[in-house]
Subunit: 480 residues, 2 copies
């Protein structure tokens, strides 16, 4: 629980100790709590409400592209997990195994899903027969479990909430199109609704998903100069289909493999929102995803008529479709302001005797603290404009920060000094071999390949590490 008194204790400064600042915000905004189970979190109302907003927005975007929601079992028999070679190698080391049901040992142990490709494939292998059954464009909202060694709230936990989309298609092209479409859906959602600018591209061999032919990613830059993989979309070709025997008869009664994709976004994005937009006063929520858009705070509320007017104002704003609440507790305005700021509520509306006298209110922006005097008669329209301005300004600030932290390098010394100076993303040429990729990460002190962007630039002819002919321009950065 966030105790009232905690709100006025200053939290650790973001630039002094970013990790501690992050932990302070998570706990003081009461987003989540640790549980008795190591690495598993309790999503508290303030944190879960953000996830609900993310779900509603993203789910709508999914359905506009023809996605249907389903739910598959939480348990995967070991024999099923093992069917796709690369997949089992990737996940076996980090799953939790169920070995007892009731008081009896199971004949075959089952793991709690770390991801559900195998379950979807098992179902489709039994049920898909003809081209008329295709495509399947399915998604499920659920939790998954991965037995991580080190964990951090939202960013890396053993259990986390996500959506996992799984699709099968009659042709290679249609499946590849869907993979790229979902990368775009994620990109639009994160940039438009979360106000987080992104770089986008393909993962290298060593960074792609276990079993995938291609992994498309969108990556964000946190305030500390580290990258966050925000969402990924995987193209499997017919690898899983062949491993599971998912075939269909076409119009001419010829048998073919299906082509498959999967794509996911998780509660990790809540960590992204905190680390991109937060400041030394706490969380700053983008208005479009904020569970509460404005909080009414009466000033000198003991004075006659103030509470009534404040309540009336809240009613008017609610009726106009805003998500709004009021703090009419006996705390001081100072307490109330710092609590509203810690929670990241995009605006607060101050209303006191003088305001009432002048038929006005004072809207205070969370992001800039700018105070805007608005006539009571115009508040329902103006508030919407102010929220949209905040949304836009938050994106623009984050975009400026991202652009200032993208640099290029053509020699290792240059890359090392630039990367160690301010982190961020460094664009550099690469020959495509894994040894160079690892060496670059080692020598820069952690800059791994983030993605190979579609828009390639020709920075030089040769790999920045080995000097052999370059294949790709790659974004490099240290990642969460």
């Amino acid at each position: 629980m966030a105790k009232e008194k905690k709100f006025v204790e200053a939290i650790t400064s973001r630039d002094e100790d970013f990790a501690q600042w992050y932990t302070d915000v998570v706990s003081k905004a009461a987003l989540c709590d640790y549980s008795g189970v190591k690495g598993c979190m309790v999503y508290l109302p303030n944190g879960y409400a953000i996830w609900e907003k993310i779900q509603a927005d993203l789910d709508k975007r999914f359905k506009e592209t023809g996605v249907e929601n389903v739910y598959l079992p939480v348990l995967i028999p070991e024999s099923l997990l093992e069917k796709e070679k690369d997949h089992i190698e990737g996940f076996a080391p980090e799953v939790a195994w169920v070995t007892m049901g009731g008081n009896e040992p199971l004949q075959e142990r089952m793991c709690i899903r770390p991801t559900s490709e195998t379950l979807f494939c098992e179902h489709w292998s039994r049920t898909v027969q003809s081209y008329r059954d295709l495509p399947k464009v399915w998604n499920q909202w659920c939790s998954v479990l991965r037995w991580e060694k080190t964990t951090r709230p939202f960013l890396r936990s053993r259990e986390f909430l996500w959506q996992e989309g799984h699709t099968i298609h009659a042709t290679y092209e249609e499946a590849e199109e869907r993979t790229i479409l979902m990368q775009k859906v994620y990109r639009d959602f994160i940039q438009e609704s979360l106000a987080i600018p992104l770089i986008a591209g393909k993962k290298t061999e060593s960074e792609k998903f276990a079993g995938a032919e291609d992994t498309y990613t969108v990556e964000a830059l946190m305030h500390d100069g580290k990258a966050l993989q925000a969402a990924t979309s995987h193209f499997f070709g017919s690898g899983f289909a062949d491993a599971f025997g998912i075939n269909y008869l076409d119009k001419n009664n010829e048998l073919h493999s299906v082509y498959e994709t999967s794509w996911g976004l998780s509660t990790r994005m809540i960590g992204g929102i905190i680390m991109v937009h937060g400041d030394d006063s706490g969380l700053v929520m983008p208005p479009r995803i904020a569970p509460i858009q404005t909080r009414v705070i009466p000033i000198a509320q003991h004075k006659e008529g103030v509470l009534e007017k404040a309540a009336e104002l809240m009613g008017t704003l609610k009726a106009a479709g805003y998500s709004v609440n009021i703090d009419d507790s006996d705390k001081s305005p100072g307490w109330k302001f710092s609590e509203q700021e810690m929670l990241g509520i995009p605006t607060r509306i101050e209303i006191g005797p003088k305001d009432i006298e002048n038929n006005q209110v004072v809207v205070v922006r969370r992001d800039t603290r700018e105070k805007i005097v608005v006539s009571m008669d115009e508040i329902t329209d103006r508030l919407g404009d102010i929220l949209e301005t905040i949304q836009k300004d938050m994106f623009d600030r984050a975009k400026k920060f991202l652009d200032e932290h993208i640099d290029t390098a053509v020699a290792m010394e240059e890359m090392i000094s630039k990367f160690q100076a301010k982190g961020g993303f460094i664009k550099a040429m690469w020959c495509g071999c894994e040894e160079c990729e690892e060496a670059i990460k080692a020598e820069t002190g952690g800059a791994s390949s983030r993605c190979i962007p579609a828009e390639q630039e020709h920075l030089s002819d040769t790999c920045i590490y080995c000097g052999k002919p370059a294949k790709h321009m790659v974004y490099w950065g240290k990642s969460y």
Copy 2:
């Protein structure tokens, strides 16, 4: 997958073999599929879409009463599950145990939650300190796992989806009020939105939830005369609070226990919708919870202009806020009708050359098959009225059926003959002792105590079984 051709094979008649009819509907309406894991289901798009509608409706009703959503871990350490004596006795035999994380055995085994009282209590015991922290009125939407021996789609599966609400309060009265309020929320939701009439009351000692002081239930009657426990709301007093040490300081700095409740409704209700409203043509969805409210079916669609008009009609209805789709496939109208009926879509709108000529459409009710000719100009208004009429008629028919299957008995022979004649609910007096409860169930061939209604009737002075003074009038019935 429901294959097209299956839709015209007649399904088993409901009155001939109810169990087989149920299985046929579930599979031919493509609501769910069995998975590779015994007792775990795949919720297919048609089935999951119903759950999404239930979630949206119920979640709104919850939030109107101040409920906040959260998410707690899927795993419960054994030591935590054991803290409340009755609770562990109730659940230990039917949980699945995780004993390995990655490749290492766990120091303490953990079960997959069968229900989450213990996790909520553990969290509150660490975080609740003062009256300012109360009440907590929380809910989570998740899946739970219970290692059932025999399973049936939606009605009894090892993993199922549900919501579980958990609340703590400063006083006994406030907690009891919340328990009863949630019973009312369930009752209103199920009767108003699912069109399923209910009986309501308290469970007897032997039927109540493991660890509860009181369990309030709402029970529905299926078409085969068997009862379905639709939702339950539990009052725990301070039992869990004391077991977990959840105390708070009041305004005078005195320490008190909190009082707790929990309440849940699951995907079982989808089985209830099928078994109350379905008929020999398949599913019949109540309009308020139907994922699709109407399907447009073009007649003689090869004729010029028909498909265009049908698509235009769908657009108009969508714009007016209806959830509508169209079947413009190359199947025959007969196929299309039987498919729409199998899926239980509350109405279909037939539109052919003659209709277009007369500027009209034909709306066909799924529940009665009544054909209603509606002018094209009035369809957007009229469709809403027709859907509301269907909703009301479906409830009234189910209520009539329920009333016809509630009887009373004052002697065992009477009870046995009446119960074995047509099942349903029998009202009879009971002394309150468990032996009689068991004997009644045995001698009637399965009529267990369903609930003790708040509105008691005095049928006689003595227990129908032992003849000792009666304590309660009880509803008895055979239950799923």
